[in-house]
Amino acid sequence: MALPFTAYMKEIFRVQWLGTFLFAKTAPLVTPSYSRGFPELTGKTCTHALFCMMACPAPGAIHVIRTPDGWEPRINSGHCIRCGLCVEACPNGVLASGRILESMFYDSTRLSFSFRIDVDTSLCMGCGNCAVACPVNKLIDTQMAYGGRASTDELLLRVNEGKCTVLHAEKCTGCKTCEDHCPNGAIRVARLLEAVHIPEEEV
């Protein structure tokens, strides 16, 4: 016995079917929480180490600028490639992006910066511009005059016997101010960025 025509119509135009047909929308336009987005501030205090700017591969993507409340990293969204290296390199956890900080905590990994200063003694003429320009030296010996001569041995750099000598390389902050002030290009600062794993028992 054939069903009446209205039964077919009722079967086809079910309310649920019509709703699915007219208002079908699959995945909503939301970004998942684990997505590595543009780095955001966590509210911790920035100490102006500038490791974020040193680690950043994109030109002009991050700048640490001075605000009335202190230093603050700013991300330029048209330049940032969202690699998350600034988040990993920051020693204070000022920036956060996706799950980077959590995975760094669980894996006990971090990016560590170290700096190596190389002085080419055949080019160095002992003018002392590097030692005078160095901001670390300026903090240690505020009285340091031209020529790079100073009374204390606590300096990062000083001129000794007519050549620039590095006394405390561990004090270097990697700012490369000495490179900019060297007239001969004799001093070079290498920034070494390495991923290190710290096992829990050592922390």
Partner: protein, 151 residues
């Protein structure tokens, strides 16, 4: 606003034809634009259709850091698109040149120097959701009351 204009506004916001052009990118953003077509994001459910023909398009997605080969060709493609039209810069490259914006490279960013850009989607590459939401939010704004604004 006349009824005809209201109908045009509604239809233009629900049927957006997109043409994308790669002016020298690394293909990362092209892959993200193609991922919009895939079942996971499925841009046709939002009423966006992809043609690689500027004469059929409403919106031009500009991808890439503008290499010298595109000097007059991007402008030609832009002029072929019938009014009303808009261009969206996809990714960092047409905004700033991104990683390629270094000394001794031949690129000439931003793309806004060459054609008028209505919106920019930052990211390297941007997520497909960001591309879709940019197209969906820009198109109704640009195409709204086009005939009234032209008069």
């Amino acid at each position: 606003m006349t009824l005809l204009q209201a109908v045009k506004n509604f239809v233009r916001s629900k049927s957006i034809h997109v043409c994308y052009v790669d002016v020298g990118s690394c293909n990362g953003c092209d892959i993200e634009v193609l991922a919009c077509l895939s079942p996971r994001y499925d841009i046709e459910q939002y009423g966006i259709y992809v043609h690689n023909n500027p004469r059929e398009a409403d919106i031009l997605l500009v991808i890439g850091a503008f290499t010298p080969g595109w000097e007059d060709k991007l402008r030609m493609i832009w002029e072929k698109i019938p009014d009303p039209k808009a261009a969206i810069a996809i990714g960092n490259c047409p905004i700033s040149g991104c990683l390629f914006d270094r000394p001794h490279t031949l690129i000439d960013p931003p793309a806004a120097k060459h054609i008028p850009i209505a919106a920019q989607v930052p990211g390297c590459p941007p997520r497909p959701t960001e591309i879709i939401s940019a197209v969906l939010s820009v198109a109704p704004l640009v195409f709204r009351d086009y005939e009234v604004a032209k008069r």
